[in-house]
Structures are given as structure tokens and as C-alpha cells.
Amino acid sequence: MKKIFLIDDDPVFVYLTRKIIGRTQYSCEISEFPDGELAIEYLTDACGKIELLPDIIFLDLSMPVMDGWEFLKQYSEIRPRLKKDICLFIVSSSISPQEVERSKTFRAVSDFLVKPLGKAKIVDIINSCEETG
């Protein structure tokens, strides 16, 4: 049972992503956070409790209140305290090469994925996290 966090303010995208994950053979527990601030607050509180931490994070960049970049900054700070190895993927509608480059400056980021996400891609991701986890 994989724990997946969707950090994205777009309800349609979240709805669709849930649907795609539902169509895979994996049973997953999905949590939603509409902005980075809510997500970082949760993770800061849960950093020592392995059972509350996700296996995979899908992070949108363009969000109100706290965007993906600010989240990454704060996430990098709490990451050493996290009791679990978490695979973090940026999932953005942006196709800007600058943002792809910028994402590489964060070691916490496993990959930069461009929306839309297909079922095959999500299966790959869950599989790869299986291996490393």
C-alpha cells in the first residue's frame, strides 16, 4: 500500500490523477494538499512518524500562498529529519526549460514531469519507488 501526496491547487487535475492511479493494479492511499504551505505544515509535524509519511509526492509548481519552489526550499530543510525516503516528483504544466534546470538544484527532486500524466508513467513511478524503497 503506497502513500501518495498530491500537492496541487487544480481540483480537476487532482481528480483526474486520482482516477488514473485508481486504474492501476496498485492500491494507494492518496492525500491532497491545495498549496505548499499546508503540505509543509503536515510534513513538519509528521517527520518522525513513519506511518504518516508518504512514499511519493507529486508537486505542482504554480500554487497560491506557497508555490512549489518555496515548498522545495522548506522541504529541503526538513528532509534530513524525515524518517522515510520519499520520492518527490514535480508535476507541472510548464514546459519551460529554465524551470527544469532550476528543479535540478534541489536534490530532493527525483524528476520533473510535464502534465498530463498517463497511466503508464504513473505505473513506472510506483514501480521505481518500489525498488528504491
Binding site: 487544480d10 480537476v12 487535475f13 498549496d35 504554480s62 497560491p64 500562498v65 504544466s93 519551460s96
Partner: protein, 668 residues
């Protein structure tokens, strides 16, 4: 023992007279005949002229014996000075018996002496007669001896005068030789003429210069010989003038004129004429210098001067040269075009000049400060200054000032250059404006890319995913649900698209007309539109437009700006706190600054500074936050050349400032 002649050197007259019979000199042969006469008159074998000094007797001249000096002197009183001393038999005289010429050869027995006293009473010596046998003198013999003594004095006096004459004569000869040498070796031509200008003397230098030998020209008129025809009359009349003036001090009147050689070639000379009167005769002395070389050098210098002045005067650059005290030594016409001012400024400083031109003293202050900076640092200084020209146009100069030192390291000059860079300056300003515009456009382009990728692509992705699901779904209910989800996505895409189009229109619409818009009207419109929210929140709006209640601006932009800011203040109010929105205007130069402050949630500017006015950026979890308002407001402000900025403290409130430029009111 009385020293007979020792007092002689006591005053100049005595000293001069004593030189008639100088001591220590050999015997005077001149007196031989006189002494022979004395011995014959007195019938003695010896006669002599003696001088007594320091207990010794010197025989200045002697006849009948040969002796120069003996260590003995007659012993007598001063009172007996003028009397005759007569010793009939020396052996009977206690003192004379010790006389060396008595004791030894020639064994004198008779001795008599007459003092040689001048008219002024000075004793020069004695005339004495001696014999080997005792004897005496008759009155006649004594009186003849006295006459003889007088003759001796007379002879001595004449001899002395003769000597003096001879000395003067020598001097005259020497002077003449000297004059002749000067005349011959003079580096100038020296020509002497009589009062009619007829040449009397012609020195070798004149021969060399003019090619005439002295013998060829002596006796000819000066002006006829060496002056070209056209100048002769002038010189002639000058000589006549000198003749009449009869004033010796007309000298040094050097004239530059042409001289004519024997071969009729001409050359440049400097001629000075000195009239002279010598023993009632009137003469002219002409001094002639060949100034061909000097003239050539002067011409060369003049040419050089013209050359450099041409450069300096025609240079399109301002040039000013100062002395160490900041006084003007030179300014070229580019610096000061009016000759009158240019002449005035020489030798003066900027303070005198600004006073003269009725300019502000501050101009001189600035220039003095720069000068001192150069002087004290010893280095070049550069600056730009802008001054209005007579037509009121601002002219900008790039100025450079640098010191010039001599070999000793002393400051000799300070040179200032000024180049009119008004055109360049305008170009620079234009360029800066272009660069700014390009950079703004570049930022806008990047923003636009980001808008396209985030704000347009995101809904498109959603639509495409939803369509995929709809197509793959076989459940009609699910299909219905998915289709219902399409609507908000499409609406969002539509809104974003419209905002973008509008913002591009604002940027492109350079023709949009500004009008005088009354802020109060504008606010009334906003309040009407937002009445529901204002009533619901019991919001309070305060206005203070004392410093500007009318803004010149496109009305639709101003309405939109005010609407956006007020609605933001209402939207992001602090829950549980009655919203207070204060709007004020402030005049700053030509601008009016509108501030809109609230007591709402505030924004963390440290976090959000970069994204503040970007499209699609929202900072609060608010259901209606779309991130369009501030983006559009900024676009509307900047399109008209204005500025927008923000101050905020989270929890306390936010103040937006908008600068409306070019709001200078026409005088009414």
C-alpha cells in the same frame, strides 16, 4: 733728537707734497748741477740734499762725495727748523763731532744746512754744504743758498706736476686705444658722421655688413650709402630733427628698417642713432645690427603662432588655459564666441567673469572647486555640466581639466577642455530609454511565456485529459460527470485568455486618450459596483485628495485600477476587523502619488516580492483569488509611464502606491 720729516705723512696734502721727494728713492741726478752751484757759491767741496728719518740721514742727492745713508741725524729743536744751521768747526761741536762723516772719511770740519720748506710750511729736507776745513758763510752766501733752496723746491714742484701730466697723458692714450678697439671689434656696425650725416668713421663690422670699405664711404652721406632710396628721406628728416632738438638724450630710438649693401641687395637692420656733441662739434653715431636672422626667426615664430592659433581657434572643442591661480590665460572662440568677452576674461577668474556676465555665482563656485581638485590632486578631473544656452536649451558639456608642470615640478598651467555632448547625451538618454523599454518588453515576454505555459497550458491539459477519459469511459453516468467538469476548466481558460488579450491591448494601445478624471467620481463608481461587499463588511472608506483630486489618465484604466485595489482590500480583509480603506493623493514634482491603504491581512513581501504583480499569482486561500487583478493594474499603470509599489506587514495591512506621471497642471 727731533725726527725732522716723520710728521710729513699726516694729511693728504702733505702726503702728496712728500712725494716730491720720495724717501727710499735713488739719488736724484737732476739736482747735480744745482748742488755744484751750491758748493761753488759756498766754496765747499761737498753739497747735498738730505732727508732725516728715524735717526738716520738720507742723502737724496750729493755732490763732491758719495754716500746714501748714515745712522746719524742732527740734533735740533723744532724752533730751529727754519733757521740756518751753521757749524763752523765740527770738532768743536759736541754733537757733530760724532757725525760719521766727521769721524771718518771725508773728515768734515765745516757744516751748514738750509731747510727746504714749502709755501705751506712743510719741511721736505735740507740743502746742506760741507767742507774738509773749518769755515763760515757770508750773508750773501746764506741768502744765495736760500734762493737756491727755493729753486730746488720749485724744481721739485714742477717735476711732480710733470709726472702728473704724464700720467694723465698715458690715460688719454689708453682710453683712445680702448675706444678704438671697441670701435673695431664691435659686433654691431658703428658709423660716425658729422652733423650733416657725412660719414667720418666706418668700422670693420660695417664693412662686412654693407660690403663698403671705410675708405670708399668716408666723406659720403650716411643715408645715401646704406639706406634704400625709399627710406632716405625719412632718415634725413630724422637727422635734421636731431640737429634742431639739440638734445643729447635722444638715444636708443632703434628702428627696424632695410639696409642696402654695396651690391644693392637689401637686408633687415636695426638702426639706432645717437647724436653727440664733442668739443662743440655735432656728430651722429649710428649703430647698425643685422637682424635678418632675428627677423626670420620672428617670422617663423609668427607663422607658428598663427598655425597654433588657427588650430586652437577653429577647434570645435572649448579650450581654456589657466595660470596656477585659476586666472584665464587663453580661451578659444569655441569656449567664448564673443570676442569682447574673450578679451575681457584674460587675466581674470570665473568670479569676475560671472559678475561681468550677470551669471550665478554658483557657476564660478563649481569651477573653482574643480580647479582646486585638479591643483591639489595633480590629476586630471572629468565631469559633465549642463547649463542653459541663451535660448534656454540645456547644453551638456563633458569637461576635462588637467595640470601641466614644468621641469621643476611646479604647476605652470591648468588646461581645460569642454566637448559639447548634448547630442550624445540625448542619444544616451534615448538609448537608456530604449534599453529600459527592451528590458521591460523582455520581462513581459518571459512573463508571457510563463503565462502561456502555466495559465493557458494547465486548463488545456485538463481538457485533453478529461476528453481522454470521456472517450475511454463506457459508463454514461461517469461520462456525464466528466463532461460537467469540463465547463469550469473551459471558463477558466476563457477568463485567462481574455485577461491576456486585454493586457496585450493595453500595452499596444499607445494612442489611448488621457482625460481629466475626477477621483471622487471614479471612487463613487467603484463603491457603487462593490456596494454589496461594503455593506456586508461594514467597510469604511476615507478620502483625502487635497493635493490632487483630478488625474489626467485614460478613464477606463483609472476606474479599473481603483476598482481592483479597493476590491482587493475588501477581499483580503482581516476576519473580525472592520475594513478601513484610506485613499490619499500627494504631489511630488510633476507626479501625483495615490496611496490606497487598508487594515487587512497584509502580504509577506519577503516571500512574494518577485511574484507580486504577476499574472495568476495569489497569496491567500480565497475562493475568488485568481491572480489577475494586480497583474492588470500594473499593466495599466506602466503602460502610461507610471509606477506601482507596495508596502505591507502581514496581519496589519497593505498600502499600494501608484505614481501618475506628467500631472503638471496648466496654470488656470
Amino acid at each position: 733728537m727731533a725726527p725732522a720729516l716723520t710728521f710729513l705723512n699726516k694729511d693728504p696734502e702733505k702726503s702728496q707734497i712728500s712725494s716730491w721727494l720720495p724717501s727710499g728713492q735713488p739719488l736724484e741726478k737732476d739736482f747735480d748741477q744745482l748742488l755744484l752751484l751750491a758748493s761753488q757759491i759756498c766754496d765747499t767741496s761737498i753739497a747735498a740734499i738730505t732727508q732725516v728719518s728715524k735717526g738716520h740721514t738720507f742723502f737724496k742727492a750729493i755732490h763732491g762725495w758719495d754716500c746714501q745713508e748714515i745712522g746719524w741725524a742732527p740734533e735740533k729743536d723744532e724752533s730751529t727748523n727754519e733757521a740756518i744751521l751753521l757749524i763752523k768747526d765740527t770738532l768743536l761741536d759736541k754733537h757733530f763731532s760724532c757725525h760719521p762723516l766727521v769721524k771718518g772719511e771725508p773728515n768734515i770740519r765745516f757744516y751748514a744746512e738750509i731747510p727746504l720748506v714749502t709755501d705751506t710750511g712743510i719741511l721736505l729736507g735740507h740743502l746742506c754744504v760741507m767742507d774738509k776745513k773749518p769755515g763760515s758763510l757770508t750773508d750773501l752766501q746764506v741768502s744765495t743758498l736760500r734762493t737756491l733752496a727755493k729753486s730746488i723746491l720749485c724744481f721739485l714742484s714742477l717735476k711732480s706736476q710733470l709726472k702728473e701730466f704724464k700720467k694723465n697723458d698715458d690715460l688719454a692714450v689708453r682710453n683712445e686705444e680702448l675706444m678704438e678697439t671697441i670701435f673695431h671689434d664691435a659686433i654691431d656696425g658703428v658709423i660716425v658722421s658729422d652733423e650733416n650725416g657725412i660719414i667720418l668713421k666706418w668700422n670693420p663690422k660695417a664693412e662686412e655688413m654693407f660690403g663698403w670699405r671705410a675708405i670708399e664711404v668716408i666723406g659720403k652721406p650716411f643715408y645715401d650709402t646704406v639706406i634704400p632710396g625709399r627710406h632716405q628721406a625719412a632718415i634725413h628728416s630724422l637727422l635734421i630733427k636731431y640737429q634742431k632738438d639739440n638734445e643729447e638724450h635722444i638715444t636708443g630710438n632703434a628702428v627696424e628698417i632695410h639696409g642696402r649693401r654695396k651690391d644693392h641687395t637689401e637686408f633687415n637692420i636695426e638702426l639706432s642713432i645717437s647724436p653727440a656733441t664733442i668739443r662743440q662739434g655735432r656728430y651722429f653715431i649710428f649703430f647698425v645690427s643685422d637682424i635678418t636672422d632675428r627677423k626670420l626667426t620672428a617670422e617663423k615664430l609668427d607663422k607658428q603662432k598663427v598655425f597654433y592659433e588657427n588650430i586652437l581657434n577653429k577647434l570645435p572643442t572649448d579650450v581654456a588655459v589657466f595660470d596656477g591661480g585659476h586666472r584665464y590665460l587663453f580661451v578659444n572662440p569655441a569656449a567664448i564666441s564673443k570676442e569682447e568677452y574673450r578679451e575681457f576674461i584674460i587675466g581674470k577668474d570665473d568670479y569676475e567673469y560671472v559678475k561681468y556676465r550677470n551669471r550665478e555665482i554658483a557657476v564660478a563656485d563649481v569651477r573653482r572647486a574643480r580647479f582646486l581638485e585638479v591643483k591639489n590632486s595633480g590629476k586630471e578631473v572629468r565631469w559633465e555640466d549642463s547649463l542653459p544656452d541663451p535660448d534656454g536649451n540645456i547644453i551638456t558639456h563633458l569637461r576635462r581639466m588637467y595640470p601641466v608642470y614644468d621641469d621643476n615640478g611646479d604647476l605652470t598651467l591648468v588646461i581645460g577642455f569642454g566637448i559639447d555632448i548634448t547630442d550624445r547625451k540625448l542619444m544616451e538618454e534615448k538609448q537608456t530609454a530604449y534599453v529600459k523599454q527592451v528590458s521591460v518588453q523582455n520581462t513581459q515576454l518571459i512573463d508571457f511565456c510563463s503565462i502561456v505555459s502555466h495559465n493557458l497550458r494547465a486548463p488545456l491539459v485538463n481538457i485533453s485529459m478529461l476528453v481522454d477519459f470521456i472517450e475511454s469511459s463506457e459508463d454514461p453516468d461517469e461520462q456525464k460527470l466528466l463532461i460537467s467538469k469540463l465547463r469550469p476548466v473551459i471558463d477558466n481558460l476563457h477568463d485567462t485568455f481574455n485577461e491576456l488579450v486585454e493586457s496585450i491591448q493595453i500595452r499596444r494601445n499607445l494612442e489611448i486618450k488621457s482625460e481629466d478624471v475626477c477621483l471622487n467620481d471614479c471612487i463613487k463608481r467603484t463603491v457603487d459596483g462593490l456596494q454589496t461587499e461594503i455593506t456586508k463588511l461594514d467597510a469604511c472608506l476615507e478620502m483625502d485628495f487635497n493635493e490632487g483630486s483630478v488625474i489626467r489618465y485614460p478613464p477606463q484604466y483609472l476606474n479599473s485600477i481603483i476598482h481592483n485595489l479597493v476590491s482587493n482590500s475588501l477581499k483580503y480583509h482581516q476576519p473580525g476587523r472592520k475594513p478601513v480603506i484610506v485613499m490619499k493623493t500627494r504631489k511630488v514634482n510633476d507626479s501625483v502619488i495615490l496611496s490606497v491603504s487598508d487594515n487587512g491581512l497584509g502580504i509577506d513581501l519577503v516571500k512574494h516580492k518577485e511574484n507580486f504583480f504577476k499574472i495568476g499569482k495569489v497569496f491567500h486561500r480565497h475562493p475568488n483569488a485568481k491572480g489577475f487583478g494586480l497583474f492588470m493594474t500594473k499593466t495599466q499603470v506602466e503602460a502610461m509611464g507610471g509606477k506601482i509599489w507596495v508596502e505591507s506587514v502581514p496581519g496589519n495591512g497593505t498600502v499600494f502606491y501608484i505614481e501618475f506621471t506628467n500631472q503638471k497642471r496648466k496654470a488656470s
